[in-house]
Symmetry: C2
Subunit: 319 residues, 2 copies
């Protein structure tokens, strides 16, 4: 059975009733599951996770884009996370009996429909990108909603689908295909964003750090602390434990501690067990590769400091 | 006054009398100083450091290459460090009132003379490389002395100067220009080279680690332990403290400790003080950017675990 993970991000993380209305078309559908939706007040953004048969997802996704268009006015949107559209990004991720190329085809099909039906400009990104400059989402999104009005008129930034002007309230959307990545945030016990920024710089690829890390700072006003927010693009080469320990080490010079961390969206079980192995080895505790989901959830709290983590965050628990 | 650092490496680290004879042409010369020569028995290699006026260095360097050719037979050479010639590599490094391009010209001038006078094939490497594949010294050196007989006949590996066959006892030499790098080795309290190898893999660029780190394992039979041996190509982006702490962290999973570390050759003072700053900050000790060379030498023993370190290892102390 073909299975993809699809992770649309919408630019609304505060009004829960509005969020409910937007995701309604994704609920109780045949062929795929709405695994989770995670509103973030500081980011003012919700990450939605679907898993299942991609052929069954396209029409509900089109309806979901329409709802977001009706409910969100980007001219009124403010939040910590960079964004350019009411639905900001829709990636398709191969999980089972699927290739990345097949995911690219689903991305193109969805892009074709939403641009045609709602006059929303679409950029194909990541592995679906048609040109080098569009492989990087931050590159496409630079200027954000506010700057996109002008940027989109530059021939270099002509959308892959839809008109060369933004939708007045929706903005634009990036649709693409990629391998699984881990959205990982590390909480620091300070409100000084400069510290999160310096640590992000130390660990991320673009400024000379680890090669498969994209990272930046964020201030969580509601929670009262900053975090280093990151994507781990290859968890085999840059495992979670290594990044977590490096951030702890860098934080020491500012007399700052890592309090906790969080996984946004899902991650493969192996990404956790590989990192748990490190901590168990340092304590000479026997590592059981086949430990239960329940045991993993207990251990990650202690060693990886994950908050708000449960079994369903592991892709394998949803298959 | 124009000043370069020149760091020839020779494939002899055991016979001290032989080493003395080889470096004789570099002693007591006008215009530059022989700062140090560091024989390593396990590597069977000696790193020689010169600092001064490049115009005064070329003729003594030619005489030094001749001595190495007379004294070293690569067919008899064995050691832990990869190598392809009696003089294995000669980099020129700009220190003061010099550009990298000027260093490239000195490299070419030396290459021209030694290839003409002794029929030694020369590869231009690093910033002096004429083609992309020759920027990386390990790439040129792959196959080492033993494999070079055949490799050099491949049109892709035709030398930049000299004949397309190796010198029967000298082998070949790489001559080039580069920015200052730091040759840094971290000692582990184990003889298990697999551990050094796994840690090297975790930190080095080529397998997904830090971007400006080249690293590998080495077994120091004489000293009775292994080490992670590395080049730090950009100490501003990948500072010493970060690498040292990451190696300590990775070593923990094997119940192995970092005992000490060493700097081979010279390094800029700033590379040390930037890293000392980290440790002093973690202990809330005031950092004095203008601390004396003597204070630095004391502090590096405690914090950076350098063994066999003295004031002259800092470039600035030799100017």
């Amino acid at each position: 059975m073909k299975i993809v993970q699809c992770v649309p991000n919408i630019s609304e993380g505060r009004d829960l009733q509005k969020i409910e209305r937007i995701i309604e078309p994704l609920r109780h559908q045949e062929g795929f599951k709405l695994i989770s939706y995670e509103p973030d007040k500081d980011y003012n953004r919700t990450v939605i996770t679907l898993i299942g048969d991609p052929d069954k997802m396209i029409i509900p996704l089109i309806n979901f884009v329409q709802k977001a268009m009706e409910e969100i006015d980007m001219n009124q949107h403010h939040g910590e996370h960079p964004r350019m559209g009411a639905v900001d990004v829709i990636p398709f991720i191969p999980i089972q009996e699927m290739t990345l190329d097949e995911c690219v085809n689903y991305a193109k099909s969805l892009a074709d429909h939403v641009s045609f039906m709602y006059q929303i400009p679409v950029f194909l990104y990541a592995k679906a990108a048609q040109v080098k400059e569009r492989e990087s989402l931050p590159e496409i999104r630079r200027g954000e909603f506010e700057g996109m009005k002008e940027k989109i008129q530059d021939p270099m930034w002509k959308p892959d689908y839809g008109p060369s002007f933004i939708h007045p309230t929706f903005g634009v959307v990036a649709i693409g295909a990629r391998l699984p990545l881990i959205a990982f945030n590390i909480d620091l016990n300070t409100m000084d964003e400069k510290i999160a920024s310096a640590i992000a710089k130390a660990i991320r690829q673009s400024s000379g750090g680890f090669q498969y890390i994209q990272a930046g700072p964020a201030t969580l006003v509601e929670r009262g602390h900053v975090q280093v927010t990151m994507n781990i693009l290859d968890y085999k080469k840059n495992p979670i434990y290594r990044i977590l320990e490096t951030v702890k080490m860098e934080a020491k010079r500012y007399q700052v501690n890592v309090m906790s961390s969080e996984i946004v969206g899902l991650l493969p079980k192996e990404a956790i067990t590989d990192s748990l192995k490190y901590y168990l080895q340092t304590e000479k505790i026997t590592f059981d590769k086949n430990m239960s989901f329940e045991t993993i959830v207990e251990l990650v709290r202690t060693y990886l400091l994950f908050r708000d983590f449960d079994i369903e965050k592991m892709i394998e628990a949803n298959l």
